[in-house]
Amino acid sequence: MSEEYIVDVDDLTIRFNLATEKVDNLKEYVIKLIKKELMFQEFLALQNVNLKVRRGESWGLIGVNGSGKSTLLKAVCGILKPYRGNVKTVGTIAPLIELGAGFDMNMTARENIFLNGTVLGHSRKFMQQNFDQIVDFAELRDFLDVPIKNFSSGMQARLGFAIATMVQPDILVVDEILSVGDFQFQQKCYARMQEMLDGGTTLLYVSHDVESVRRLCSHAIWLDHGHVQMSGPAEEVTEKYINNR
């Protein structure tokens, strides 16, 4: 509630309709309406989750597949709206949920830098000012006018990371994205993230690699089937998490 939290997730519940009962045509809808089956089976991806993050902290989100880590990140970014509860954030968010989401495969790298930058809410002028910096970081100067459908997935990831991290955001949200790209580039990305952390950026980080969570994060939250299993200092939580397996 107070200004001291930069990310304040309060008693958050997120609901999905299970895809098995997906009603997407009119006939089915009417039939279901008549049979009063329209309240489809609901699935709570997150239940009563609390997460309070102060400025400059870095949090790792751990848990097995399907435990709700990515859902929590999406709720923080504003992509998913809470079913119950509240999500409040202060300042700018740089979402690294999927690198290059919003790339148009038919367009060149140059065109995509502007397209993707404006998708992230930057102005065209701002992109022009930062254009060289992005190209240098992605190391793609020779391929600027090639349609990116001809790029390898690693090259696309490089471009996506470069665009998303060109500003110093208040909150950096990172979902398991660095698995693509070669070792050298991964090191470069970690270095960039560390640089941002030192500059006061708050980090939310999802990874299955507990080692990297320990390295980057001060705190951790462990999710299991949509519930918070444990949250606190990274060392303790990861310790418990590993022993639990």
Partner: protein
């Protein structure tokens, strides 16, 4: 008040995205085509020629300059037809992106309508060409064409918002709307004079078909060299804004659930 200001700020923040999306649509449309943008002028021209050959004999009486009459009607209707059809898919086509990054979703719908409007402006070139070739008179009133374009743009945005939102929940809309637009075309006086209709149908078209207002407005300026009647002029604005308000209302009410239905 502050809600309104927030919305305007968000729009201003993403106006460059709107621009990029429109530019992308236009660029990709003619990539790899030999004549490129010229098609935007050539296409309505070819349709006009075909339809003139077919219909000019049937409806010659009562219409002074058939090619211009036809083209004015066709340009307007084609804009609404293509822009709303493109807008219908605008949210679904960008589902992958909407799932990953927060973007105001109406921007995608707006972008599709806007790129169709750019096409509309191109096809005015075709109109100009035909007017020169048929030696029609140019009127000062043609300077007011942007007014009718603004009206029909607002109207198309309204329909676009309704369709793009509805299409997320019921894919049937695509087929229903296809059939609907065919019917709509035939009850719009594009290639026949409205006087030809039986009285009751004429009354329906002149009062309940929104396209009648915009086409009539357009023809008043281009073909007849007069300002539209107050009825046509204000009717066009009112229909446009009512449709826009309705579209925005539906879109806003449903947009948070889009992501659950992709």
């Amino acid at each position: 008040m502050s809600v309104m200001r927030d919305r305007i700020n968000t729009f201003l923040k993403y106006k460059d995205l709107l621009r990029e999306l429109v530019v992308r649509d236009i660029k990709l449309k003619y990539r790899r085509s030999f004549l490129g943008y010229i098609w935007s002028i050539l296409n309505p021209l070819l349709i006009m020629i075909v339809m003139t050959l077919v219909f000019s004999q049937m409806f010659q009486r009562g219409i002074d300059n058939f090619p211009v009459y036809l083209l004015t009607g066709n340009i307007m209707f084609e804009f609404v037809n293509s822009s709303t059809h493109m807008a219908m898919y605008s949210v679904l086509d960008n589902a992958a992106l909407i799932k990953k990054i927060y973007v105001p979703k109406y921007i995608f719908t707006l972008a599709r309508i806007t790129s169709a409007m750019v096409d509309l402006v191109f096809s005015l070139g075709a109109l100009l060409l035909v007017m020169i070739v048929t030696r029609s008179q140019f009127h000062w009133h043609m300077l007011a064409i942007p007014v009718v374009i603004a009206q029909v743009y607002i109207f198309a945005c309204g329909i676009g918002f309704i369709l793009s939102a509805a299409n997320v929940f019921f894919r049937d809309i695509q087929y229903i709307y296809n059939a609907f637009t065919v019917a709509w075309m035939y009850v719009t006086p594009i290639f026949y004079p409205v006087e030809l209709l039986p009285d009751w149908l004429r009354w329906v078209v002149e009062h309940l078909n929104p396209m009648y207002y915009y086409i009539q407005h357009f023809r008043d300026l281009v073909c007849y060299g007069q300002l539209p009647s107050a009825y046509i002029f204000w009717g066009g604005w009112i229909i446009g804004f009512v449709m826009l308000a309705f579209g925005l209302f539906i879109f806003k009410k449903t947009q948070d659930n889009f992501i659950l239905y992709f």
